[in-house]
Symmetry: D2
Subunit: 269 residues, 4 copies
């Protein structure tokens, strides 16, 4: 539909109270702002920078928790899948299987996920020119599944910095699938632990969100947590779920405006 | 004011007919869309990539033409100044003296322009982190002139490419002067002559314009020409002045929306 | 040892004749130039940009071929491993298990490989600041294996381009493990199929090789093939194995010179 | 000649004692290492980031000091020229007129300098693809002067960082004029005052110097000062003149090796 949708939830699956508090607030926001929500949380973070960091409950316990949330709040579910052997179990519970940005070119993983006939969210690799995201998408299509979402999440810009290039949204839209903007990961400062507030440049959130939505998206991806400072992963970049509603309002209006002019622009182009 | 303003006109001063046709159309657009216009055209292009390329009528004849346009259409005038010895003559005719992006750090030039007490438009150098644009601005202030505009025009991104980073608008706004987005120069493809259509990636114009305006600007800078393909400079990136009106409509609406939320965001930040 | 070593072989395992021709020539070069060689070829390419492209014989047949080469020429063997479930079988045949650049942060994969107690070659992700390569190395150490090689292969530089930053070699050397420079992948032009000659900027090979070796490495990684134009992968960037000897000579001399001054520099630093 | 030459001296002209001490040491090094030296110091720094910072004695007093040094030590002299009106006076004293990197595309300045028939050192703009340095060079040739030096000094790499791309040396050499590597400016950290030690990443000096020389140069440009910490400009990046001799030794040897193989490589390419 032309409505902006939201992918949101804690970065990684934590204790049940944290998960339920977040889901509850997302449910309220979804109803008040009439914005469809896909609940997102990782059962496993496979690219943390140290073995000492929390990586989540792993697939079995993680999917259990997500299933509970779906049962209680009715959200469709999304989580990232890292290895082909995780795919069968993940596809039993998840509605959307996400390919992490670093893995966006891994053929065996894409093919395994595509064959589940579930929706695939492919994150734009920070090293891949945006127009080349047509290639992993084509691998999924060639494996019989064209239920694809493409998610922009910032591109490598010098060391330890990401830039959100408005042209990425042009290219991703040209590929022809729904486009999502992962706002919170785009402000992450690599090289600084995500538990350190300096590990995320929050001051940019409103600016890049509005710019990205105005560039043309179908959904936004915002990791949220009841108390980000205490989050077990990406504390520096997750949004407090209680700030989300105000944050979304301008995005919803900008989206409506952008959709209104989108047809005219395509004609012009 | 909170109204979006427009800096526009042919990249370089050409024959009178071309100049008057453009000014005439800008006048109509200004009145129909209630958008204030500053007329822009360079009396001299000092950074063309070959001595064989047209550089404009130079300062005397150029300022004569601009004065005629001001007299006929009442536009305030803007042109870029390259050397301190050009400043006195330029300040007699121009309302806004522009410092080209490559020269944004040249002290003698900034000081000379600041001392004219005219408005200074400092283009963001493609090599300077956006927050560092506070430095040339401070040089102007320290020379007794705080009538400053800061213009984003794309930042160096690998070879022969520019990226418009939404965070630039955040930083430029933080410096505290009106912020303008130079949309047409941001799509220029260096390394390819600007007479070659491939020298400008026009397909990105609507996307980057909307993203930039949503990120927070006070004005937009769009070089326009009655027949860009025949333009004597930047043929590949100037906009046809007869396409400008449709192009501006979504920007004006996005700007109004962004200004509406701007206060709330500043409070949040 | 202070001798420069070489990791070389066809990008992906092809027909036996091609493999044996390459190995034979590498053996001759190894003996004439007294340069130790690790034979490299991929049993599977998991990140090709289309399902239509050749990905190799996969693990079983691939390891058989490599075992044959080891038996015939006595080379230690290296190949890249993409998924944890491939590790046990790979570790039976390979002397060095390589983690591809895109996967350098994948925890489960690093831990599985580390536990085999074989040498691990971690390719520097094109999205990771070089000093952060200490993190995947630490994951291996924390899993009980410090037999690590770190390989530089170019860093993301705008779209579809890689830059070899001499500072990377400084950072990788600081981490404290042998450093290798993957010269041939550093000239790859993403976005252009590797079968297309324009898909590799060969003209830069001598220049970047000498610069990288002078910056301080212990080994070089050069994919070689008897007839690169006919190679089934990376045809645009593999070196003809018959040109390799002349290519290596200046590198060996520069390396000796660099090692001579290395101690003094470390003292100075 | 095939000998490595050196452009060196304090960043900006300071008190006579400092200048003479530096010149004296450079003379000793020149004789001991048989390396030709061009003495470099700026009579004016026109791009400092604040009016409060020292900019040098300006052209008249500055050229007087340089003339004294030439008289006493016999060095050819180099200084940067910022505006066409400075050219006649500068050309009376200087042997090499340098165009600063930011100004490398300014036509009036290049033409004015070219017409003096003195040697022109054009610094590679941090925003210009290296192959495009053929364009300012061609402007000088078209103005009747082909005594050109092209100087690499690092390219824009994200915000507040420069990368020395070995491919730049390939491109600059292809243009066909002597190539110099400005080592000390390449480690400058913009955004941090150059009086702050953190304003220069000195740890990289040996690595990038060796890499650059191995990539193929004719000369190196190293700003030196008797007590860099007290230098009135670029304190963070100037080298102590008393460390210079040891620093140069490996560069001279690498250069000899590179020149030895240069002909063969050109033939191969």
């Amino acid at each position: 539909s032309e409505k902006l949708f939201l992918i949101s939830g804690p970065c990684v699956i934590e204790d049940e109270l944290t998960m339920m508090k977040t889901a509850e607030m997302l449910k309220e926001i979804s109803e008040r702002l009439h914005i469809p929500v896909i609940f997102k949380s990782s059962y496993q973070k496979d690219n943390r920078s140290s073995l000492k960091y929390y990586i989540g409950p792993r697939i079995e316990k993680g999917l259990e928790m997500l299933a509970k949330i779906k049962k209680e709040f009715g959200f469709p579910l999304l989580s990232d899948v890292h290895y082909p052997e995780q795919v069968p179990m993940a596809a039993e519970v998840l509605d959307v299987l996400q390919i992490p940005a670093y893995l966006c070119m891994q053929t065996d993983l894409i093919v395994a996920i595509a064959k589940t006939q579930k929706v695939i969210n492919i994150k734009h690799g920070q090293f891949l020119a945006p127009e080349n995201m047509a290639k992993p998408a084509q691998k999924a299509i060639d494996s019989g599944n064209d239920q694809i979402i493409l998610t922009e999440r910032g591109y490598t810009f010098g060391y330890n910095d990401l830039v959100v290039d408005p042209r990425s949204f042009y290219h991703l839209n040209q590929i022809g699938f729904p486009v999502v903007f992962d706002i919170t990961h785009s402000i992450r400062k690599y090289g600084i632990p995500s538990a350190d507030p300096k590990g995320g440049a929050r001051e940019f959130l409103p600016t890049i969100a509005r710019a990205g939505v105005a560039a043309g998206v179908d959904g936004v991806f915002i990791e949220t947590h009841p108390e980000p400072a205490k989050a077990l992963c990406d504390a520096a970049s997750q949004m407090c779920v209680y700030d989300l509603e105000e944050f979304l309002k301008p995005l919803i209006e900008i989206h409506e405006l952008e959709v209104k002019y989108r047809e005219k622009t395509l004609a012009l182009a």
